[in-house]
Each structure stands twice: as C-alpha cells, then as structure tokens.
C-alpha cells in the first residue's frame, strides 16, 4: 500500500509542484510585501518546474492513488495546454493595467491562479467522481474570487456574486446527480460506474435524471447552452486576464473532464473496437443531448455576439460559440472527434489569447472596451491591429490560419461520422460568426481615425508576447502535421 502511494506520488509530481508553488507564493507574498509583483516570477518558476514534470510523464498510461487519478497521454496533453495557458496568463497579468488598482493584493491574485491551475490539473486526470467534484470546486472557488479582482469593483463584485451563486447551484446539481449515479451503480470511480452500467441492471429513469444533472454541472463549467448564462456577465465583469483564462483554460479542463467521464463511463466497452464509432450504454442517449446542446450553443453564441459592443463580452459570446463547435467532437463518438477537439484547444489557445491580449493592450492604452472606440485604430497601431485581424480571421476559420485547421479537423471528424446536418449548422454558424469578427477589423481598418490620430506605441515585451501568439497562429495554419499527430496520439486514455 505504502509502495503504491509512493509510486503514486512520484507520478503526481506536477500537481505537487503546483501545490508547492502555491505555498511558496503565499510566503513570498508575505515576505516581499511592497514588491509583491515579484510573486509572478515565483509563479512562473513554479510553472516551469510543473511543466518539466508534466513533460516527463509523456508516454505513461498509469493510474495512481487507487484509481483516483489517471496519468495518461490524454491528461498530459491537456496539462500541457493548461500549463501554456498558465504562462500566458501570468505574462498577461504582468502587463494588465486593470490589476494595478489592487497592487497591494497582487500576490494573492497569482496565488489564486495557481490554485485554479491545481484544480484544473486534477480535473483532467481525475477518474473518480468525488475527485472530479472536488477538483471542479477547487478551480471554481479560486475563480470566484479572481472574477471579483479588479479596480472596477462594482462590475467585478457583481460578476463574482453571480458566479458564485450560479456555480454553487450547478455544483449542487452535479453532486446530486452524482449521488444518484452512485446509488444506481454503487461505484465512485468511473470504471466501476461503467462496469455497473454495462450490466443494464438499473432504472433508466434514475440514470436519465443523474445524467442530465451531471451534464448540467459539466455544462456550466464548459459554458454550453443552456447552462452558459453566467459566462457573459462574469466574463465582462472579471478582469480581462481572468476572462481569457476562464475562456480557454477553464474550458479546456472542463472539456477534458467531461470527455473522460463520458468516454469512460457511458460507453459500452464490450463493443469498443478500433474501427470507429463507440456504442453508448443503453438507456441514455447522452450524445443526442450533447448534439442539441452543441447546436444551441454555437447558434446562440454567434447570434448574440453580433449585438455586443463590448469587446470582452463579444469575445465571451464568441468563446461560447466555440464551445459549441468543440462539443461536436464528443457528439460524434469517435476517437477522431476527441482528437480534433484536442487539436482545437491548441489552436484556440493561441488565437483566443491573442484576441484577448490585444483587447487588453488596447484597453490599457485607451481605457476602453467598446468596439466603437476601435475605429481607425489600424492606422494608429498597425502592428497590433494586423495581429488582431489575424487572430480574428483565425477565430472565423479562414485559411491559412490555425483556426481553419482546427475547424477543418473538427468538421472532418463530424463528417466522417456522418453527422451532415450538424456540420451544415456549424458551417452556417461559421458564416454568421464572420459578421461580428469582421465588425472589429472593419472598425480598425475601414474607418479612418477621427480626433486623436497619434500613433500608439507598445513596449517591446508586449510586442514579443503578441508575436509569441501570432507566430503559432499562422504557423499551425501552414504546417500542422506534428500537432495533428500529437493530438491523435494523445487520445489514448487509461483503461481504454
């Protein structure tokens, strides 16, 4: 037993490193006091170490702590995505003027980010319902506070209140659903759940209730309609860095957990072969529910985004729409779908962070988040605006950008599974999304600046960060072989 635990700990090093980082950050915050900006460097160092530990886990397919957590390529892939987004968020935060108002408490801010990362790291690996719930709560609780962390206190406070109420209710539903699932299967680890479900010896009604409640709980985390309502308000109210983090990392972790949960527990492993489509367990057509949700999500996200004037809110709705696209990958019940979802997250990370980062830079300089104020910016800040245009083009899914490749593989997966109607809806939605993305770069380039026409200069580090996001966005649009390979190889989960 002890040996097993020791062995488990050795495979739990990334999470431990994060925990240590968390502790060091708290201490550093206390020690540094006035210069607590430097906590950020502590966090970066911690993230570096974490990443190294994550990279050392590549190729492993293990389970640790008595089937509580899986260490498999799937988890590693998502951990890398999370770690990279963690880096970016910390860098963003160091640039973000919005956070300056609470300079004295900035140490806490970084600390909470690490806590959130920890929760998400566990989410992507958890194979036990309880651990899933705990991890979800850990990341949620940290994000409740982070959402309220900004100088514009009123909006921020409101955001965090809504978030906490909504989040708590959702987690209540989740745990209630889990309790029922536990009741009918008698297991808390998802493999046990799966084994019990395959016997078919339970009330379908109970399974349906549990399933829908669990979907509601997960749906909240990954912001898919109709469980997304919190997100626009929170995204708008939260500091832009946190919005970006929620829109990318939190969503990725949520999806990872969701994929693992559904793929492990709700499919009929007896009929699972390498040839393609999985069979789902009898009594609960969860993929149809997800399909309906995917359609609702992308349509709603895009249609409402058209009406937004606040860039943060617009990007929030846009990220809801993207969640809808991504969800399609799970609906089709193939490994290819999962792979394309994973690929999507990589691309999405760069392009969405890019858009958020530039929105932040502009907000830093002009103190505005209104799209109408972007008029003529292309002439005042050409480099940044061209980069923004590329990110938006990528978000629309036009080649040769990463966004196109992401969408391409996703659509390919959906088509190869024969969901033509779904892909047609997604295609139409892509066209709709063009309206609001175009509106941004139309304002930037097609309208000449009025009033102040002076050039806006950005610091070198800001530019470097822009390029760090821009280059992958274009590069993955032209050369994507390795990343596709990686995603396809990382579909492998423990136990399957």
């Amino acid at each position: 037993m002890a040996e097993h635990i020791l062995e488990s700990i050795s495979l739990f090093l990334p999470e431990i490193a994060l925990t240590v980082t968390l502790c060091v950050a708290i201490i550093a915050d206390l020690i540094l006091k006035e210069r607590n900006q430097n906590v950020a460097y502590v966090v970066i160092a911690g993230l570096v170490i974490t990443t190294i530990f994550v990279l050392r886990q590549t190729g492993l397919t293990e389970t640790i702590f008595s089937d509580m957590v899986a260490v498999d390529p799937f988890a590693v892939f998502f951990k890398i995505v999370l770690a990279v987004s963690g880096f970016f968020i910390v860098f963003f935060s160091m640039k973000c003027r919005e956070l300056d108002a609470n300079k004295k408490r900035i140490g806490e801010y970084y600390m909470l980010i690490v806590a959130m990362m920890l929760g998400m790291f566990i989410m992507v690996g958890a194979t036990n319902l309880l651990l899933m719930y705990l991890a979800l709560e850990l990341s949620s609780i940290a994000s409740y506070i982070l959402a309220g962390y900004t100088k514009r206190a009123r909006d921020s406070a409101e955001a965090s209140l809504k978030y906490v109420i909504y989040g708590a209710v959702s987690s209540g539903m989740l745990i209630y659903g889990v309790s029922i699932l536990y009741g009918i299967t008698g297991a808390t680890d998802i493999y046990g759940v799966n084994a019990a479900l395959q016997t078919g010896d339970f009330s379908p009604l109970a399974l349906l209730t549990a399933g829908i409640l669990i979907i509601a709980g997960f749906g909240y985390k990954v912001t898919v309609a109709p469980f997304h309502f919190w997100s626009p308000d929170v995204y708008e109210g939260a500091p832009i860095t946190i919005t970006a983090f929620l829109a990318v990392a939190s969503k990725a972790a949520g999806f990872a957990m969701m994929i693992r949960f559904f793929k492990v527990s709700f499919i009929d492993t007896a009929l699972l072969d390498t040839a393609g489509v999985w069979d789902i367990v009898e009594g609960f057509q969860w993929n149809i529910i997800l399909a309906v949700m995917a359609v609702l999500t992308m349509t709603l996200g895009n249609l409402v985004a058209i009406w937004q004037n606040n860039i943060k809110r617009l990007l929030a709705y846009s990220s809801i729409a993207h969640a809808g696209y991504i969800l399609m990958g799970l609906v089709v019940l193939t490994d290819q779908g999962i792979a394309s979802m994973m690929l999507y997250f990589v691309m999405y990370l760069f392009m969405n962070f890019g858009a958020f980062y530039i929105a932040m830079l502009i907000s830093n300089k002009l103190d505005t988040e209104d799209i109408e104020d972007y008029k003529g910016l292309g002439y005042r800040a050409p480099l940044v605006c061209v980069a923004m245009a590329v990110f938006l083009i990528s978000l629309t899914g036009i080649p040769p950008t990463a966004g196109f490749i992401a969408k391409f593989y996703l659509f390919a997966a959906v088509i190869s599974a024969g969901w033509y109607g779904l892909v047609l809806i997604a295609a139409i939605n892509t066209v709709i999304s063009l309206f609001y993305y175009v509106r941004i770069f139309r304002n930037m380039f097609l309208i000449e600046p009025e009033g102040d026409t002076s050039k806006i200069e950005f610091s070198l580090s800001s530019k470097i960060l822009v390029f760090a996001l821009l280059i992958p966005t274009i590069f993955f649009g032209v050369y994507f072989r390795d990343i596709v390979d990686l995603a396809q190889a990382s579909v492998k989960m423990f136990g399957l």
């Binding site: 705990l134 709560e137 506070i145 406070a157 409101e158 965090s160 536990y182």
Partner: protein, 114 residues
C-alpha cells in the same frame, strides 16, 4: 406497556431507502425554491446549502441501505467541507457586494446583462 397512542403506519414504521430519497428530493426542491425566490443573497446561499445537503442525504442513504462501503460517507464529509468553504467565499463576496451596492438584494445586482 401499552401506550399505544396511535398505530404507526406501516410505511413509517420501517423507513427504507425510498423515504430518504424522497426526503432528499424534497430538500433539493426546497433548496432550489429558496435559490429562485429569495431576494436576499444570504437566503439564496442557504438554499444552496440545502441543495448540497440533499445530495448528502442521498449518499448516506445509499450507504445505509446497500452493501456499499464507506465511500459515500467520505463523500458526504467532503461535500460538507466544500459547502463550508464555498459559504465562506460566498459570504466574503456578499460583503463586497454590500460595500459596492449597499444592498444584498440579488435583483438589484444586475448591471451586467444582455
């Protein structure tokens, strides 16, 4: 010793799993009701506690009436702890709201919308 005040009905004499599940369902519904109808944030938070505890009842009931091990008890404990943590955070946020809005009425905290 025949203090037989009244005959306890059969369904009450030996409470079974169903009773607990029904209780928990009622509790869950009440929790939701509180969350949806109360205007005071504190009351809403109490509703949330009800939600979480209804789940706890389920867990314990399942543990009691089936042959399952102690897993459910542990889950219940964790949920209680989490509920406490969540409540702490939530109350801090409510305090913040009160400072900003001078009210704890959720309806009035709705400047972010559409």
């Amino acid at each position: 010793m025949t203090y037989c005040i009244a005959q306890i009905p059969q369904w009450l004499a030996e409470p079974g799993l169903t009773h607990f599940l029904v209780i928990s369902a009622i509790l869950f519904s009440l929790g939701l009701l509180a969350v949806l109808t109360r205007r005071n944030v504190i009351m809403v938070l109490m509703g949330i506690e009800l939600l979480l505890n209804s789940a706890n009842i389920n867990f314990i009931a399942f543990a009691r009436y089936t042959t399952l091990a102690l897993d459910a008890h542990l889950i219940a404990l964790f949920v209680i702890i989490l509920a406490a943590a969540e409540a702490a955070i939530a109350l801090a946020i409510v305090l913040n709201i009160y400072q900003q809005f001078s009210t704890v009425n959720v309806d009035e905290v709705s400047t972010l919308r559409e």
